[in-house]
């Protein structure tokens, strides 16, 4: 296990470095002048060549790409994620202010995907080829197929028309006002979660269908165990592994998926920040947020792999 962990941690380094190279190169290929972002149209036009040169030097824009890349890595290493070109805020401030909102949305989406996906998957498995099974399968295919942003837009429209919904203009945190915070994050969480629930239902169904045909399930039934115990303790527990794998991916996908859903609901999370930064060509924000998302994804994957051994004692990494 320790060898495996060490190997995975070592692999983590080239993975992250690869991500940084891709992000850095992509950002440098985009057109745009950071000085216009900082000083506006008139400011950039009125600069003398000398002023422009000095400002570009101060921002490190005149350094060779390799040096710029090195400085970026150094800054990340020291915990400095840079500063927005268009706003007087650092990326760290964005992450601290808006990260909790996005994280809440991702967690709620994952929880909803379990709470809705598990029952639907179980019903579908235990009542094969009945109307309940058909309805469950239709539900799962429907929500897998519908894009989150579209569902978000429809949900927002319905909320506006029927409940006079107003998009939040400032973030509210659970420790400030839990009820208002829940109002803010529940919508995006629900929309994202329903999409994931479709996946969960399908995975639960396919795993359970396989597991309940196993010998040990038959043995459990034969020895007279209650059906509830057979399903919950024996079958479901063994069907859980692929769900865990997918759920960890959901957490990463939820961060990415929240970009569109946060925009639809107008929730000031990191997703909305990302969209605004992309539209404004705010390169440091885009660059560092993409890196953060990638890091979260890689770390969550690592934790998931580690959790397999704990969940299933048969799995050994040595």
């Amino acid at each position: 296990m320790r060898t495996y962990l060490a190997r995975r941690l070592l692999l983590f380094i080239p993975t992250v470095l690869g991500v940084t190279i891709v992000i850095f190169t992509a950002m440098r290929l985009l057109p745009g002048d950071p000085l216009v972002a900082i000083f506006g149209l008139e400011g950039a036009r009125r600069m003398t060549v000398e002023q422009r040169t000095n400002l570009e030097e101060a921002l490190g824009l005149r350094d060779p790409f390799v040096v710029q890349y090195g400085k970026w890595l150094r800054d990340i290493g020291t915990g400095d994620f840079g500063k927005s070109l268009l706003r007087g805020d650092s990326v760290t401030q964005f992450v601290l202010r808006r990260g909790p909102i996005t994280l809440e949305i991702a967690v709620i989406a994952t929880l909803i995907s379990w709470m809705v996906g598990f029952p639907v998957g179980i019903i579908s498995t235990l009542r094969p080829n009945t109307w309940m099974d058909h309805a469950s399968r239709m539900f799962s295919i429907l929500f897998v197929a519908i894009p989150g942003f579209w569902l978000g837009l429809v949900a927002v429209l319905a909320l506006i028309l029927w409940f006079d919904y107003k998009a939040p203009i400032l973030p509210v945190y659970p420790w400030e006002n839990p009820w208002k915070n829940l109002q803010m994050v529940a919508g995006p969480g629900l929309v994202l979660g329903l999409g994931f629930a479709g996946f969960v239902a399908r995975i639960v169904r396919s795993s359970l269908v396989e597991v309940i045909q196993e010998d040990y399930v038959r043995t459990a039934r034969a020895k007279g165990l209650q059906e509830q115990l057979v399903i919950v303790r024996h079958a479901l527990r063994n069907a859980l592994l692929p769900v865990i794998t997918w759920s960890s991916l959901f957490l990463g996908v939820a961060l990415g998926g929240s970009v569109a859903v946060e925009k639809a609901f107008g929730v000031p999370g990191l997703g909305l920040t990302m969209i605004d930064a992309i539209l404004d060509r705010d390169l440091p924000v885009v660059q560092n947020l993409v890196l953060l998302y990638a890091l979260v994804f890689v770390v969550v994957n690592l934790i998931t792999d580690m959790s397999y051994a704990w969940l299933d004692p048969r799995i050994r990494y040595d």
């Binding site: 057109p31 745009g32 002048d33 950071p34 216009v36 972002a37 900082i38 000083f39 506006g40 149209l41 008139e42 400011g43 950039a44 036009r45 009125r46 000398e50 002023q51 400002l55 070109l85 268009l86 706003r87 007087g88 805020d89 401030q93 202010r97 909803i112 709470m115 809705v116 598990f118 029952p119 639907v120 179980i122 019903i123 235990l126 009542r127 309940m132 909320l159 409940f163 919904y165 107003k166 998009a167 203009i169 400032l170 973030p171 006002n177 009820w179 829940l182 109002q183 803010m184 529940a186 919508g187 969480g189 629900l190 209650q226 059906e227 509830q228 399903i231 107008g266 000031p268 060509r281």
Partner: protein, 569 residues
């Protein structure tokens, strides 16, 4: 048992969904808390210097939180180097100006602020300001003449590597005594133009101490000290909160305890929804739909302030063939229905209107233009025929084989405008263009480098001194002798430059009017650009925000201090 499990699962799923829908649907969206009313501020005593009051001061209530939807946030805080409303809009409440334009009156007369009175020398070249005594900066230091000198030196003579976007004809600022400051002009100006230029909302007075400490570079300093009615409280990625200055020198103001600028982008549905939904009290730069709803609402008010800028939406590269021939430029101008251009743009900004090159009284009003050739609908056929004739005279009777590069700023209005121009030029004159849509910062690079045939769009940021704006847009920089920074069409005309020199220093109103009209005439015959559309900014607020004027005037940059506004809540 299986039935029980199925039923339990279904019920659980339904309950989760139901609860979540209820949570989202019920309860209003987060609101900014309103603080209790503050104690009454004593009224000014008679015989004291001028103190600004709300329009209906006697009825004014005190206290409360004014929630402002502001275009922002600013990318940096050096207001002197900034050309965006994001700075002046959010920072102005923390500062005072030397003199100011009365924000309650759309005609914007000059009134005292930190200067209580001033005298002008007979030759109009020296202004002596008496300063208000007993004023303190928010950091506790005393306000003195040295602070005025330090501020205007930063603005007029910025340190190397720092930028100032303000153009003021000041040769020298001299401290005469602790509370007297003298300004010597570098060239004559009529007194209103000069004082209005000083009163520009960007020329906020800060302390010499702060400027010395930061070597004039305030880009990263969001709380450099001011003397203004509101003080810095906190700033987040979504908002900027400022609170009442308890030691403010004006005993009448401010009326509200707290202002919160919430960043909502201009012209977006989110901005309109926040105002119409009551999440903010006031909003700037509304989109057409929201502005119409504001105007239609009995509980809300709205108005348009004109921008003091010169806007050209399509510029020709006057250095390149065939655009160096004014017959081609005029033909391209005549071929376009200019009013249609403004209607296209109005879909995105309700305040845009076709305009003359220079604003009235030097140029003609929209109504005047629409009655005459080539803008009146009845004259359009003749204008198109004349455009074809001009192209023939320029040697292009059958159009031009080459396809020209048309650099278009990435925005919906510019894209639609350019597409219309492209289609009309090809259909009517056989002039083909290739639209190259670029992001705004890339457009500036192209403007500065001159690597375009046709380009959209550019605004020359204006102020109270129109001559400075015209020079920036169409003239020559007097210091460098090269074309001005915003003269991206590379317009050169000796007669124009000579007339502009005369116009800028002329103090006689009649002669100035005549010179201004000459300048406008030259631009109309030379046509360095087309699509001359003037725009304003649409504002809206709930009627419980009191004290704002009912009609907008020229330039809203001087109205953001919020010391004359109260809340009827």
């Amino acid at each position: 048992m299986e039935r029980w499990l199925c039923r339990a699962s279904a019920i659980l799923g339904l309950v989760v969904l139901f609860v979540l829908v209820l949570i989202i649907a019920y309860g209003s969206a987060p609101q900014i808390a309103v603080s209790p009313a503050a104690a009454q501020t004593p009224a000014a005593k008679s015989g004291e210097p001028f103190y600004l009051k709300a329009i209906d001061h006697e009825k004014a209530k005190r206290g409360g939180t004014l929630r402002l939807a502001a275009h922002g946030p600013p990318s940096m805080f050096d207001i002197y180097a900034s050309g965006t409303i994001a700075n002046v809009g959010a920072q102005a409440p923390m500062y005072d100006l030397l003199v100011r334009q009365d924000p309650r009156d759309p005609k914007l007369p000059i009134i005292p602020s930190l200067a209580t009175s001033w005298t002008i020398s007979p030759d109009g070249m020296t202004y002596t300001f008496k300063l208000r005594q007993g004023v303190k900066f928010h950091d506790g230091t005393d306000f003195e003449a040295a602070d005025v000198k330090a501020t205007f030196d930063r603005i007029v003579f910025p340190p190397p590597n720092l930028i100032s976007l303000r153009i003021l004809p000041i040769k020298e600022t001299i401290v005469r005594d602790r509370y007297t400051v003298e300004m010597k002009l570098s060239e004559p100006r009529d007194s209103y133009t000069f004082l209005a230029a000083l009163a520009g909302g960007w020329n906020v007075i800060t302390s010499k101490k702060a400027l010395d400490q930061h070597k004039g570079d305030l880009k990263q300093v969001d709380n450099f000290p001011g003397t203004g009615p509101f003080m810095y409280k906190s700033r987040t990625t979504e908002s900027w909160e400022q609170v009442r200055n308890p030691n403010y020198w004006n005993p009448n103001a401010p009326y509200v305890d707290r202002i919160v600028h919430v960043w909502l982008k201009a012209w977006t549905p989110e901005l309109g929804a926040a105002l119409l939904g009551g999440q903010v009290d006031w909003a700037m730069w509304l989109d057409p739909s929201a502005y119409q709803k504001v105007k239609a609402s009995a509980n809300m008010s709205g108005l348009v302030w004109l921008a003091p800028n010169l806007s050209s939406w399509i510029g020709f590269n006057n250095d390149r063939e065939p655009f160096n021939d004014n017959r081609v430029r005029r033909a391209l101008h005549l071929a376009l229905d200019q009013d249609a251009l403004s209607k296209i743009t109005q879909q995105f900004d309700p305040t845009v209107q076709m305009a003359d090159y220079l604003p009235p009284p030097y140029g003609k009003t929209y109504e005047e233009l629409m009655k005459e050739y080539p803008y009146a609908p009845a004259t359009r056929d003749k204008a198109i025929a004349d455009a074809k004739k001009l192209m023939a005279e320029a040697g292009h009777p059958n159009g031009i084989a080459k396809t020209f590069n048309f650099v278009v700023r990435e925005s919906p209005q510019n894209r639609q405008l350019a597409a219309y121009a492209q289609a009309e030029w090809e259909r009517l004159l056989g002039v083909k263009t290739n639209l190259e849509v670029v992001q705004v910062s890339a457009m500036v690079d192209r403007q500065v480098a001159g690597t375009f045939d046709i380009i959209s769009h550019a605004t020359c940021l204006g102020g109270a001194d129109l001559s400075a704006t015209i020079r920036a847009c169409y003239g020559v920089n007097k210091t460098t002798g090269k074309k001005s920074d915003s003269n991206f069409t590379n317009f050169k005309n000796a007669e124009f430059n000579k007339t502009l020199d005369q116009f800028s220093v002329e103090v006689d109103p009649q002669k100035k009017l005549q010179l201004g009209r000459q300048l406008n005439q030259i631009l109309n015959s030379e046509m360095p650009n087309t699509g001359v559309l003037h725009n304003g900014r649409a504002y809206g607020w709930h009627n419980n925000v009191r004290g704002l004027p009912k009609v907008g005037g020229n330039s809203d940059y001087n109205t953001y201090q919020w010391d004359f506004v109260w809340l009827d809540k």
